[in-house]
Symmetry: D2
Subunit: 178 residues, 4 copies
């Protein structure tokens, strides 16, 4: 996190403030799809977190999180990857911050990807993982799936809205979509 | 703009609200570089607006604007292109919303691209223009420059912070950087 | 086509020469997916040619063709689009020659995309079409399909090897994959 | 290298054959820009080979080489990176074979990038290097340069035609172009 100009408040918001802001402007998010690559760069596994929420029950998802005020995209990627996958995941951040795709989530059901909490615009990155991810606090599990396994409709049905589409775009781009 | 779920407030913020939000989260922006292409797609001209602000005097810039709450990126691109270039510009919106690059602006001088008003994350698109842009309300002029002219250091010195870098990236990608 | 240095032979090869070269090196190809876009850039239709060959019978495909010796990619795109879609198609060539994806075709069955004639590396572009394509000499038909129609397994089964995968990647990138 | 269909000749050509083919069709090339990245993915150094030719004297270049008949792009990248940088370079091949840019080289001076040997179409990749490159047979040296050093006009003047432009495009895309 870069130093803030004097007089600015810090990047953390109270739950009340965040709730208020979320009804006024779209939030900037980063999302990271964890990949396990073979020695020649070929995709071997895609990683997903398993979490639980009151509203939706068990759900699988990629790494996803808000970009804070005055935080760079690279800082946000680093922070969320470590927060979600632990300190031993050793993600390989890309040299370029050109996203793999941009995902839009809206709070209104039936209108694009759905996120009941907010309108967000997410920059999505594919991030090779060299180490061993370990699920952190609010996650129950982290699992690797082969490209074939990841296309199981039951598995994709467990994913948060939008993430199955991101997965299928990635698989198509890597020549792995069945 | 899509219909909002009942109970939500509209996307427009009072100046007070906007000012408040801008100190709390990064703003989502779209930026569009107007291009005039030859019949075979070759870049002939790059377009820039000339505006005036109290703080910075005369400044050249590309089309740039905020994405509103519950507005899609495509809607925001359409709205800002029409607002800045008029109804006769006939921009050719891209089929894919994959941005050409992502630009980050920070309110702290000396830290990345500088925007004294806010921290913003801008999705940047190159947009071919078929019609005749006309500068609207707060712009004094709209001009086309050849790739060579656009690399004049004096001209680039008149551009808002970050836009000369976006221009040079675009010229490099199109094989036009001197 | 640019002027050739004196002493060079022209870019056209005799069938015998071409046959010989095709067993020695990979061929450079361009492929273009014809798109019909709405006023805001949204994908409305994808276009396909219907052709007939002795070996494979009726087959659907996108525009595809070889890059000649000393021909630029832009020249090859222009030439093949006009040759396959006619003079009234009015394709919108992209400003950037960054391909949408790269497709590899091999003469050995069961090894990547299959092309019995050769090994080729194809740079694939999505090309909006403003006019009215008309099938030329060796094509029987040109048809537009909605994104939904284009995902019909029967239709995709009629496509030349590799093109259904290109189509699905494009649909995924544009948020239209079912 | 995949197994070849029986009856096909192998991918290696005699010098006479290669010379012949080079006057008939464009050659498919891969090029790789070696990068040294910091722990957060930030660009620290760009790597260049120093070679010597009869015609041009000392010249700096990135990794570059021909794709053989029936060789995949990934196989060609792996082969040329090992051939030019040695077995201890440990390049990180990308998951996606979407190139960073496409470069076109022509044998006619004054017409695009110049390569007196041939017309080639090169798919260019940025490849992070984890290990220690060592110049092989026909190279005299391999050196790392900071983004600032790599923009020295004298250094760029030593690069083979086209590679300074690729370098500047990469630096612009990574926000490092002065």
């Amino acid at each position: 996190m870069a130093g803030l100009a004097s007089g600015d408040q810090g990047p953390w918001l109270t739950p009340y403030d965040l709730d208020d802001v979320r009804r006024k402007v779209p939030m900037v998010y980063i999302e990271a799809v964890p990949l396990r690559l073979g020695p020649d760069g070929d995709l071997e596994f895609v990683g997903m977190l398993l979490g639980a929420t009151h509203e939706s029950g068990l759900q699988r998802s990629f790494v996803s999180g808000r970009v804070l005020f005055h935080e760079t995209l690279r800082e946000a990627l680093t922070r969320h990857l470590e927060k979600d996958l632990g300190a031993m995941a050793f993600p390989r951040l890309p040299a370029s911050l050109q996203p793999f795709t941009v995902a839009q989530y809206f709070p209104t059901p039936g209108y694009g990807f759905h996120d009941p909490r907010q309108h967000s615009v997410a920059l999505v990155y594919a991030v090779p993982i060299d180490g061993e991810p370990a699920p952190q606090d609010d996650a129950l599990d982290f699992s690797w799936f082969t490209p074939e396994q990841s296309q199981d409709p039951l598995l994709q049905g467990e994913m948060v809205d939008g993430h199955a589409q991101l997965l299928n775009l990635l698989l198509a781009a890597l020549g792995k979509l069945a």
